[in-house]
């Protein structure tokens, strides 16, 4: 079945690249990141004396990747909203059910397809700060940790987006639900700041989980958390897809 899953993923990715929405999202996302990157570099150059102590890595790279993660939080729901909800609305999901693909195959194909486009977005985003390597000493370890953090964050949010897309037949509703859930997970960190007693809640905050990566500390616990959260969302997506065969 891996061949069929690959075919579904390739087709999904190709169709996404053809849709104007995907290009608009990518263009706006890259545009936003480019402007932000330029502002960070300009700020550093204008305040070099004050910022030299923390270095380019901390003054440019870390805030840049924090913004990149925040950008992905907004981009992922837009890239995933049609993946299953759109197919359900158009009646093509039922066609997929009539093929030899199982629910996991369908989810795998969809994940692969969206990751194709999200991967292109991430690649462009991480290439931008890499240009600093030509002009200044940059901490390659911190850079690599941030790239890994963004990749894991992307995987988790694409998985979450797919799950939300499997909940409904309205893509816009799917995007909104995904956005609310991912923003809530991001903002859980603020709850801890407001009330230290809520530290058990803070363990689920994506922002807190990203903190280690942004400092260049690759913690296996954080990696496992992102991977397990992604697997959980994907498993729930497969269950929702499978249930759809019985319920609709």
């Amino acid at each position: 079945m891996s061949v069929a899953v690959g075919a579904l993923a390739a087709s999904e990715s190709k169709r996404l690249f053809r849709s104007p929405l995907a290009w608009i999202v990518l263009a706006l996302g890259e545009g936003f990141m480019a402007v932000f990157f330029m502002l960070l570099v300009v700020r550093y150059l204008e305040n070099e004396a004050a910022l030299r102590a923390s270095g380019v890595t901390n003054a440019v790279l870390v805030p840049y990747f924090t913004a990149a993660n925040l950008g992905m939080l907004l981009v992922a729901p837009l890239l995933t909203m049609n993946a299953i909800a759109g197919e359900r609305r158009d009646g093509t999901l039922r066609f997929l059910y009539s093929t030899p693909l199982g629910a996991l195959d369908i989810v795998g194909g969809k994940l692969g397809g969206v990751l194709g486009l999200a991967g292109a977005y991430v690649l462009l985003v991480v290439m931008m700060p890499a240009t600093l390597f030509w002009g200044t000493p940059l901490d390659a370890g911190v850079y690599a940790a941030n790239v890994l953090g963004l990749a894991l964050f992307t995987l988790m949010h694409v998985s979450l987006g797919l799950m939300c897309s499997a909940l409904t037949r309205q893509p816009v509703a799917a995007a909104l639900v995904a956005l609310v859930v991912s923003l809530s997970l991001w903002l859980l960190d603020w709850a801890v700041r407001l009330d230290p007693a809520a530290s058990h809640v803070g363990a689920y905050a994506t922002l807190a989980r990203l903190r280690g990566f942004s400092l260049g500390l690759v913690n296996s616990g954080d990696i496992a958390w992102f991977v397990l959260a992604s697997l959980l969302f994907l498993a729930l997506t497969a269950l929702l897809v499978d249930a759809d065969r019985s319920l609709t």
């Binding site: 579904l8 039922r94 066609f95 093929t99 199982g102 065969r245 019985s246």
Partner: protein, 311 residues
Amino acid sequence: MSGREDHRDDVLLAARGLGRRFGHRMALADVDITLHRGEVLGFLGLNGAGKSTTMQILAGALVADTGTVEVCGHDLARHGRAARRALGYLPQTPPLYDDMLVDEYLALCARLHGVPRRELAAAVGHARRRCGLDEVGARLIRHLSRGYQQRVGIAQAIIHDPAVLILDEPTNGLDPAQIRDVRTLIGALATERAVMVSTHVLGEIRLLATRIAILHQGRIVHDADNRASGGRVRVRFAHPPPPAALRGLAGVHAAEPLADGGFVIDLDDGAAARAAFADAASAAGWGLVELTSDYDALEHLFMRLTAGRAA
């Protein structure tokens, strides 16, 4: 249900006791369907009778609450992949990705059904040719007319050369010439396969199907060979007798006078019964001038079975 004991070994699809509820509404109950190789089953019913639900269940796109479906010996619930690989399904609305090229879409469908890469081009070419899509292979599906989109839908159903074809209103949106082409295609496909076709056009089913099943309010109310209605004939005489005289002839079950002076007669099935009737009419001196099959028989049967019980 089919009564075709002689083809028992050639059963390609067997559904037993299918039942399905949507909320409190019973959509299907105790539906049995058997499809044999070489058979075209015409599946009729009023809107909302449960035809599409039945076909979705048979195609594996919907799970039944009760009952079993076996396709080429594979249980659809337990060995779904193998069973679905042997199935081609065209839903009521063709399942098209309108942002794809026709060839691209057909290649995807072939891959999803497990056609090996080396056979891909041949499979796409074959399906395209059979469905008259050669000229539009490089066009975007959204730019095709409704008729061509329907043909693409049929092509995706046959791309992997399935043993069982389930076609939900395949002639929907086609013009008369295209309908004739699809009828010819289905007839050709059925020689080595089993085909199940639903439609609202009774004349189409009469010409196409070898067997007819009528579904009403979620239950099969008729399942018989298409020729079963062949015993109903229209006759016209130079000297029309009273209906009672016709009813008195051997092999005649009923005789209804028509407004145009002819009669509709329910005869025993078969050529022998018709010959005997012609001989008897001649011997009585009624001057038989016309004896034809009653092409409205199916409509008559359908209306009788579904009359007054609208779904």
